[in-house]
């Protein structure tokens, strides 16, 4: 897909299935196919946005990369190491490179620990600092995330949501990771605070050359922060492309519907554009539709779509889509390349 030596993370055909047990003897009667064959790669210093509705498997994908869930199948490469094949101790050491920031800044910090203890915990776990160095490093990290180092001995409840998220970011940065999975880091925050945190993410990426997997359901924020965007639906990636390409030229009918549902802060927009209103809800991932997963809600679906899963193919340079019905746009290639260089 990309030049291998600059690829940091490569995910190949990742599957995460959760078993369903029923009855007195807890027999397995089925499985929830939360992630069902996902492949992508992320280059060094790049931000890949992962979007989709709740239950589409975006969080499970993120957690599987950090090995918080054991994948059912597939490979996750960090540089050239397959994380799945690693034993416990080598994986533990590998976690220095791969960190995670969680959605809920209220639930992801231990209320009985001070900021110092929270941020110092990873340092202690890896023996990276002792004695006075610890406080110095914690204060340095607090400065990095624009928190006042004087607050080092405070508890999480003394901070606002945005400040708590900064503590979570400081903790993730403590080990100098190369790659961070950001799992909806701004969803729980107020609008004016969201912008502060997104700007912080961008500054840190420049300062520390970080690579992000940015998981979110807010498509406009994802467009802002990402270099490339992957759209998930029912456990699979249906479309993946450069950020401007996917918003200007969405090819999958699901991406089109999703983009059209984004609220736009402009009353005039609603007079000029009619929205695509998708019918119904997302089907259950325990029993996904046969063939194309989107066909039950797709306006273009016909018999062809029942036959089998469409191939995830590259229809334009760097633009991947999983759909039988993709019509290439009438716009010429020149227009596309011109837009991309802007």
């Amino acid at each position: 897909m990309q030049n291998n030596n600059e690829t940091l993370i490569r995910v190949e055909d990742l599957k995460v299935h959760f078993p369903i047990y029923r009855g007195v003897i807890r027999r397995q009667v089925g499985s929830v196919k939360a992630v069902d064959g996902v492949s992508f790669s992320i280059k060094k210093g790049e931000t890949l946005g992962l979007v989709g509705e709740s239950g589409c498997g975006k969080t499970t994908t993120g957690r599987a990369i950090v090995q918080l869930y054991k994948p059912t199948a597939g490979h996750i490469y960090f540089e050239d190491t397959d994380l799945i094949s690693l034993k416990e101790e080598p994986m533990r050491l590998m976690r220095q490179e791969i960190q995670m920031i969680f959605q809920d800044p209220y639930a992801s910090l231990n209320p009985r620990m001070t900021v110092r203890d929270i941020v110092a915990e990873p340092l202690l776990a890896f023996g990276l600092a002792t004695g006075k160095e610890i406080d110095a490093r914690v204060k340095e990290l607090m400065n990095l995330v624009r928190l006042d180092p004087d607050f080092i001995h405070r508890f999480p409840h003394e901070f606002s949501g945005g400040q708590r998220q900064r503590i979570g970011i400081a903790r993730a940065l403590a080990l100098n990771p190369a790659f961070i999975v950001c799992d909806e880091p701004i969803s729980a925050l107020d609008v004016s605070i969201q912008a502060q945190i997104v700007n912080l993410f961008e500054d840190l990426q420049k300062e520390l050359n970080l690579t992000y997997l940015f998981i979110a359901h807010d498509l406009s924020m994802v467009r802002h922060i990402s270099d490339r965007v992957a759209v998930m639906y029912l456990g699979i990636i249906v479309e993946l492309a450069d950020r401007n390409e996917i918003y200007n030229n969405p090819l999958h009918p699901y991406t089109k519907a999703l983009l059209s549902a984004i609220p736009v802060p402009d009353p005039d927009h609603y007079r000029k554009h009619s929205r695509i209103i998708m019918e119904g809800d997302v089907p259950s991932p325990a029993n996904p539709p046969s063939g194309c997963r989107f066909r039950t809600r797709c306006p273009l679906a016909d018999q062809e779509c029942e036959k089998g899963r469409p191939e995830f193919r590259e229809v334009l340079p760097g633009h991947f889509v999983e759909c039988f019905k993709v019509e290439l746009p009438t716009r010429s290639k020149e227009v596309l390349t011109e837009e991309n260089t802007l």
Binding site: E53, S54, S160, G162, Q163, D190, V191, S192, I193, Q194, A195, Q196, V198, N199, E202, H217, L219, S220, M221, R223, H224, N244, Y247, A257, L258, L259, S260, A261, I262, P263, V264, P265, D266, P267, D268, H269, Y270, R275, I277, M278, D281, E339, L342
Partner: protein
């Protein structure tokens, strides 16, 4: 012009907490016309929900207390009514839907029973009539196989369907005003679009006035006729929908709009961010509540809290500074 259906003046609500008195709403005035949709926009803690709950007297007293103000609904003050009278208004003439449809539905009661309850209570329907009307209502909000699904419990419905049930319940007694408190915040964007679309359709069919509380300036642009922006327990800007986006005149509104990423934007501009965070309301502010975060702040802002000052017809902002040319405004 259509006639006025609700007129709220000088509403003040406080809460007694162990840390002190929280001044949640500090003198809110607004009007609602028949058939009109008023958007109320603000971040958490700005007083948008508390002011609406106060009007319906749904805040717990104590610790809450409505300190001042009146809310005239069809010639009667909602804040002075007897408990029996306000109970007849709530759910009947004024109904409300909430953010989280799971916690606002009773988990151990079937959807059918919950839908029938207001019909039997407010309209005196028999059980049979209520059941038939419930089926009609579910069909109206787009629930397939409505008759079968009356027997289901809330957990058997998806989030979007639960919110549809809430809307069906709120509309069951043909209210004149529907208060919607962040009804789409807990939902996915595609479901949010479905719900907004549904409310717009029902608004035309039923003809009720709507107060739509939200923190999302995008959603409000799709549904409201007029918008009030709230901050620190005050309305700090009010305008017709087009004026607000064309000519935001309070620095906070400007900041909120600027902090949204533009979906149409090609390049990557740094997001405008408002520094600091919303105020704690332990003291009733005597200066502008936004002054500590404001780029345009002048000495006067720290001395005197600006009232709503006219910008143009139907558009007022509570700011001493004319942010278009930097001149200082005076109170009339």
């Amino acid at each position: 012009m259509t006639s006025e259906i609700l007129n709220v003046q000088g509403l003040e609500t406080q809460f007694n907490t162990p840390e002190g008195v929280v001044h949640a709403v500090n003198g809110v005035d607004f009007k609602l016309n028949e058939g009109e949709t008023l958007g109320i926009v603000g971040e958490s803690g700005c007083g948008k929900s508390v002011s609406m709950l106060s009007i319906l007297r749904l805040i717990q007293q104590p610790p809450g207390k409505i300190v001042a103000g009146n809310a005239m609904f069809k010639g009667q003050d909602l804040l002075q009514m007897s408990n029996d009278d306000i109970r007849r208004v709530r759910g009947g003439q004024i109904s409300m839907i909430f953010q989280d449809p799971m916690t606002s539905l009773n988990p151990v009661m079937t959807i059918g029973k919950q839908l029938a309850e207001p019909l039997m209570l407010h309209l005196g329907f028999s059980q049979e009539q209520a059941r038939n009307r419930s089926i009609e209502l579910l069909e109206q909000v787009g629930i397939p196989r409505a008759a079968d699904r009356l027997k289901d419990y809330p957990h058997q419905y998806s989030g979007g369907m639960r919110q549809r049930v809430m809307i069906a319940m709120a509309l069951s007694c043909a209210p004149q005003i529907l208060i919607a408190d962040e009804p789409t915040t807990a939902l996915d964007v595609t479901i949010q679009a479905q719900i907004v679309d549904l409310v717009i359709r029902l608004r035309e069919e039923v003809g009720m006035a709507i107060i739509w509380i939200t923190h999302d300036l995008g959603v409000v642009a799709s549904i409201a006729h007029r918008v009030n922006v709230m901050y620190g327990g005050f309305v700090i800007e009010e305008a017709l929908i087009d004026e607000l986006y064309r000519r935001p005149s309070h620095p906070y509104t400007v900041g909120l709009l600027g902090s949204l990423p533009q979906i149409q934007a090609e390049g990557r501009k740094r997001l405008y961010s408002i520094d600091g965070m919303p105020p704690m309301l332990y003291k009733k502010p005597h200066s502008c509540p936004f002054a500590p975060r404001c780029k345009w702040v002048i000495e006067k802002c720290r001395m005197e809290n600006p009232p709503l000052l006219p910008i143009e017809e139907g558009h007022r902002a509570a700011c001493w500074v004319n942010i278009e040319d930097g001149s200082v405004r005076d109170a009339e």
